[in-house]
């Protein structure tokens, strides 16, 4: 499924933006839909490390490892999210896909300033969701190759 084909609209702060809500390590995370190229099952991608779709290689990124959260992406609901931003491609495994949420960027809450570590680069903010919150992932950080094997292993 090409998610971008289903989505149109701008990303100005006032107008609604679409986020794909997923879970990883029992945390709700949001991905800006504009960066999403597709959703695949483990069966669809087969036994390859880096999924290739339409001749584009989506480098596998271990997001759970990068975030130091439990690696629970092997169940029947696991999906592979294909991401692309500024001609950089990557793919992440998520435990579940909750669905799409439309939300004005202006209503994304900032991460409290008491969070002072590198996580300030990991998230673009928070969204109130049901009785919980969703952390909006910074796709640029997710796709940054230099970060792989760096922060994720530093404790």
């Amino acid at each position: 499924m090409d998610v971008r084909e289903l989505m149109t609209g701008s990303s100005s702060p006032a107008s609604p933006s679409r986020f794909l809500i997923v879970t990883v390590g029992e945390r709700y995370l949001a991905l800006n839909a504009e960066s999403i190229c597709g959703l695949m099952t483990l069966e669809t991608i087969g036994n390859v490390g880096n999924p290739t779709v339409h001749d584009k290689v989506y480098r596998a990124i271990n997001l759970a490892d990068r975030l130091s959260v439990p690696n629970d992406q092997g169940g029947p609901n696991t999906r592979v999210v294909l991401l692309s931003e500024r001609k950089v491609h990557g793919s992440i495994r998520v435990t579940t896909v909750q669905g799409l949420l439309e939300f004005p960027l202006s209503q994304v809450l900032p991460l409290p300033r008491q969070f002072r570590g590198p996580e300030r680069h990991w998230y673009r903010g928070m969204i109130l969701f049901s009785k919980s919150i969703v952390l909006v992932l910074n796709t640029t950080w997710v796709l940054d190759e230099r970060m792989s094997g760096f922060e994720g292993n530093s404790g």
Binding site: G25, E26, R27, L67, S68, V69, L109, L111, P112, R113, Q114, F115, R116, G117, P118, E119, W122, M126, L128, K131, S132, I133, L135, E151, S154, G155
Partner: protein, 148 residues
Amino acid sequence: MLRTGQKHQRETSRQSWQLLVFSVGGRRLAVKTVDVSGISQWNESIPVAGRTPFVTAVVRQWQTVLPVFDLAASLHLTVQGSSPLCLKVRHPLGEMAMRIDEEIPVLHTFDPAALQTYQGDDLPAEGSYTNGLDEIPILSVSRLGSTV
């Protein structure tokens, strides 16, 4: 949710400090009431992956999201009781929540002339006072998360 310290209740001079004495893992600590913004029942916290020591979760209270400072973990203690409380403090970076024991905090009027230097180095303190055999540190809220 507060009770007044009976032994220490007396005429309040203009220079006196109003303290809130609470417990974490059975250990008694104090904080100035001017640094306290509220006490309520503890709502389940929401973990946030990150690297900031002892700030690894938030609590949601209606439309407000507060960062949680894990004071118990910073002191290598475990919060006691099945109905812990949420102590909200005024931190310079914004309101912050801490999970404390279910024991109801006590208000205490304190004469700053009796302020001692806190002997420990396990938490940021404005000083301490002696209560019986106990040394009770007065938490420096503004330095929480920066020096521990």
